[in-house]
């Protein structure tokens, strides 16, 4: 075609495109000046113009890739080496895996063809050398490598492995398909550990363990693929080479790599790297997600995450993993490999201890820990007891904080104690032997007597050494012993049936606790710190059971003892002071709590610093007091500050950060800044749901906050829906008489009253009132009366409503200072209901009289 003509076509084409589509044909005809061939040429091009279409918008690589994806493999070679290729099994950045048939011996194998990148003679030589070692690896948990070799392909020498063909599912899919429970999952990991250990002992590190590399066959036998293959196929060893094999593949693999592997230091990669990968696999299997967020395709960020970020504890994802499983996984995922299990065998040993309910090695057995073990081994105990037990354990953790933090001193003292115990035991044995010989032969007597004397001396020495053993470890043990014998002992029917006691099958946790609490003073007269630790533990348990007066009694005595023995600023003193103050607050005694919280915060800021978790808790608690007292201006900056620190230090998805969101939302709500409160409140609900589940206590707290917000916004139906849900869960989990359950019951009743659903509200508020009547001095009793009165008023049952409304209003008025700011409006509301009562009842004079009275307040 003449260039001039082409230019002409092009010019008309572009000009025509600028015209409205309907006028293009006419335009082209005119522009062609009767040249029909030109006109037709341009028009046929315009017909193909496809301005919004997809033609060529997808790039060639993508087109080819899609083609490849749709039709399967790029090509299927008929044979590779001596193997007849049957079909493609899988294909990845590293190469392809075929199912292939071997003639002699006659068997079907998996043939892995490796793409070496640039196959230099040096690399091929190393491949041959190292792959021979792999063929010697034999273990039921490892896919056997039969042979390796190189075949000639179109692209030069192509190394391959012929290995055992496993018919099974990748570990993760297998676990999902067979709905493995926790025990089955960890058992599977223990089996895998055994296989990994076998290879480790032969000097082979896997380096690329991941669920996709572990197939589980029909006999439930996990089989690890590609053992040692990573090393053989890496050009220069280490992660650096892997980094280059394919970004997409790498990211999939990266998630399972240890920190030292992503650092790319081949020398630092050893058996413990595989242990780490096993930990990630275990974590993922149990949690259903990886411990880190690893963004796809961003290698440097992912590597940094692996090196620096602490994985979210397994227990934060699923509460039931609290305890051993959490501890085992945590140890496996230590950044510092010297803190991990030294070998896969150690890991599997610990898993098996867990499965047998024996103490695991992952941490020194603390009192609370052993106690937990104890309950596990005695499953006969009532469910209620074990539920409270979790609470108690948490209490021990807090009360003997110093002892349980595995300080060097503690370990040392422990060892010393153990030595003492051993010495004692040896002495006793010696004595027994001595006694036996004493009886057996007279001529031995003198020697035996002196041996006995020696044994006694040794024993005494051992005992005094034992006494010198660390006080705190002893305290922890004393607490554990006390709880075991005095509390759990009661639950055991065999123990109960002493000569003078009748077994009490209906023994409640409550009764057992009361009995235990009563015995504390007597038993630990000379060990004030032990007494304090036990009282705090019991106090916290009462607290969680909602028995506030009982809890307060224990905690007040704990604080008194610790103040005296440890001093005002000691962490343990502060800890119990904090818990006591929380109770004051809950009991409506905010003015008593305020100076205590201020003191705790001041000391913690000074000693622990602003970002310490305990300091943050204090900040939060003090803010809560201010909020309850209506001191929003003081509360807000504290909450804002703690929120900022938590977001920075703990991250967005953290239960403690959610607490700050929740509290800031509450402050805004109370200040009437409802629009600002809502997103924060929703965020708190969302994070807690994610971290603690739909029914976690904090989730319920934040849902309660959300309902209160809706109520303040007069979105009553939405508030009702949220409270209905919360109440359902609380009734089930906390029981119908728990203070929190009662509060929500009343709130739900109130919001129903606000929607004129008087009849359905009545039983709810009555139920709350019945429990509240037991505490005649609490403002809640009168609040309950006012609500029941309101529900009756709405049903036009004036005579019944009158005494309740009058008593309720007066009671609330007298206790105004104790009512949390959020609920204080209920005083005037109760008053206005009296006015309404008399109006509806046809007593306008009385109504006016009351109106003046109420408005005057």
């Amino acid at each position: 075609m003449e260039p001039e003509r082409w230019q002409e076509i092009e010019r008309i084409y572009h000009e025509a495109l600028e015209q409205d589509a309907s006028r293009r044909a006419a335009w082209v005809k005119r522009a062609a000046h009767g040249d029909e061939s030109l006109e037709q040429e341009v028009r046929s091009l315009l017909e193909q113009s496809d301005e919004k279409g997809s033609f060529l918008e997808e790039r060639a690589l993508e087109v080819a890739a899609r083609d490849m994806a749709m039709s399967g493999a790029p090509s299927l070679p008929a044979s590779i080496g001596r193997y007849r290729v049957l079909r493609l099994l899988g294909e990845g950045g590293m190469g392809a895996v075929y199912e292939a048939a071997q003639e002699d011996p006659q068997r079907v194998v998996a043939l892995k063809v490796i793409r070496l990148g640039m196959a230099t003679p040096e690399r091929l030589r190393r491949f041959r050398q190292e792959s021979q070692a792999l063929a010697r690896l034999q273990h039921p948990g490892i896919a056997q490598i039969y042979e390796s070799g190189t075949a000639d392909s179109g692209f030069g020498p192509q190394p391959y492995f012929a290995m055992e063909l496993i018919r099974g599912l990748p570990l993760d899919e297998y676990a999902a398909a067979h709905r493995l429970d926790v025990r089955q999952k960890v058992t599977m990991i223990a089996k895998i550990c055994d296989a990994v250990h076998h290879a480790h002992q032969r000097g082979l590190i896997h380096r690329d363990l991941k669920p996709g590399n572990i197939l589980v066959d029909e006999m439930d036998q996990p089989k690890i693929l590609d053992f040692g293959v990573a090393r053989v196929t890496e050009a220069d060893g280490g992660a650096q080479a892997t980094m280059q094999t394919g970004l997409g593949q790498l990211v999939g693999t990266l998630a399972y790599m240890s920190p030292e592997q992503v650092m790319g230091d081949p020398a630092a990669v050893d058996a413990r790297s595989d242990v780490y990968s096993l930990g990630i696999i275990l974590y993922e299997l149990l949690a259903g997600r990886l411990p880190y967020e690893i963004s796809r395709g961003r290698v440097p960020e992912a590597a940094q995450t692996i090196r620096e970020e602490d994985p979210a504890p397994l227990s934060s994802i699923e509460r039931t993993y609290r305890g051993d499983v959490d501890t085992i996984v945590r140890k496996t995922l230590e950044k510092d490999r010297t803190r991990r299990y030294a070998s896969a065998a150690d890991l599997s040993a610990d898993i098996r201890r867990y499965l047998n309910d024996e103490p695991i090695a992952a941490r020194p057995p603390s009192a609370g820990y052993q106690l937990l073990k104890f309950t596990r081994r005695h499953r006969g105990l009532t469910l209620a007891i074990s539920a409270v037990f979790v609470v108690l354990i948490a209490g021990i953790g807090a009360s003997t904080s110093q002892a349980i933090r595995a300080s060097r001193a503690e370990l040392e003292s422990r060892r010393e104690r153990d030595r003492a115990v051993t010495a004692e035991k040896a002495a006793t044995e010696e004595r027994d032997r001595a006694l036996r010989s004493d009886q057996a032969a007279t001529e031995e007597r003198n020697r035996a007597v002196s041996a006995k004397a020696e044994a006694f001396r040794e024993r005494n020495q051992a005992l005094s050494e034992k006494r010198r053993a660390d006080d705190e470890a002893a305290t922890a043990k004393a607490v554990s012993d006390f709880l075991r014998s005095d509390l759990l002992g009661q639950a055991d029917l065999n123990n109960q049936a002493g000569p003078n006691t009748k077994p009490d099958p209906d023994l409640t946790v409550r009764k057992a606790m009361d009995r235990a609490a009563a015995g504390v003073s007597r038993k630990f007269e000379h060990q004030p710190l032990v007494e304090a630790a036990i009282r705090q533990t019991i106090g916290n348990a009462y607290l969680d059971m909602g028995l506030y007066p009982q809890a307060l009694e224990q905690l007040e005595r704990t604080v008194a003892i610790r103040r005296q023995t440890l001093g005002e600023d000691h962490p343990d003193t502060l800890q119990s002071m904090n818990n006591m103050s929380v109770l004051y607050l809950q009991q409506g005694e905010a003015p008593r709590a305020e100076p205590l919280f201020e003191h705790i915060l001041e000391v913690r800021r000074r000693i622990l610093g602003e970002e310490n978790p305990d300091t943050l808790i204090s900040m939060n608690n003090l803010a809560a007091v201010y909020r309850t007292e209506g001191k929003y201006a003081q509360a807000e900056p504290l909450v804002v500050k703690s929120l900022a620190i938590k977001r920075r230090v703990l991250g967005e998805i953290h239960h403690s950060t959610a607490m700050a969101w929740n509290n800031l939302a509450a402050v805004y709500r109370l200040e009437g800044r409802l629009a600002e409160a809502e997103p924060l409140q929703l965020k708190a609900v969302e994070v807690w749901r994610a971290v603690n589940g739909d029914e976690g206590p904090e989730t319920l707290t934040s849902m309660n906050g959300l309902a209160m917000l809706y109520q303040a916004e007069r979105r009553y139906a939405e508030a009702e829906a949220v409270w209905t849900k919360v109440l359902e869960v609380q009734r089930r989990i906390l029981g119908p008489k728990h203070p929190n359950t009662l509060d929500v019951m009343a709130s739900l009743g109130e919001v129903e009253i606000q929607q004129q659903k008087y009849a359905p509200a009545e039983p709810l508020v009555r139920e709350a009132l019945v429990s509240w009547e037991a505490a005649p001095n609490s403002w809640r009793r009168y609040y309950g009366q006012a609500l029941v009165g309101a529900s009756l008023l709405g049903q036009e049952r004036y005579a019944e409503a009158e005494p309740l409304l009058l008593s309720g209003y007066q009671g609330l008025l007298d206790r105004q200072s104790a009512i949390p700011a959020a609920t204080r409006r209920s005083v005037s509301e109760a008053g206005m209901r009296i006015v309404q009562l008399y109006e509806d009842w046809g007593q306008p004079e009385k109504a006016r009289e009351w109106e003046e009275k109420v408005r005057g307040k």
């Binding site: 572009h14 994806a69 493609l88 950045g93």
Partner: protein
Amino acid sequence: MERGDHITQLLRSWSQGDQAAMEELMPLVFDELHRVARRYMSGERPGHTLQTTALVNETYLRLVNSDGPNWEGRTHFFGVCAQMMRRILVDWTRSRQALKRGGEARVLDLDSEALAAVNQPGMDLVALDDALNALSVIDARKGRVVELRFFGGLSVKETADVLGISPETVQRDWKMAKSWLRRELNGARPRGA
């Protein structure tokens, strides 16, 4: 020798007519091809994949150390890469078509969702390559624009830089070339034109 340097040298040798260099480069492109194919197979919607431009650029950046020696400028390099991609992808498609005619069995199972994602009207790269050759005879620059954009995955701006023309010209060339190629592939070229 650093991997990146090595690739740079291979590209240079190949652009100077060394066919052996191409054979060393091919596996690298195939790696990439497999990777994208796997994305399809894993059911990622095309809408969710990276922009192809970004993807191809990523390929290049991975192939060549970004801080390595700048071989005759970045633009020239992109140009050579686009040519290489074209050659490899078209050859691969051609060999596959030959194989298909031989009755190759389908091997990998795709789940229905993944299938839905990839089940779009296909594009015959071999036919497109032929049409592109024909276009280049009439208008070499338009042929280059298509090569750089479609095979090389370059943006309008990058294409303009490589060819030393304005982005507006690239836009116009691209539009017209697409119409021309589409007409060619649809067999709608007027007789005698």
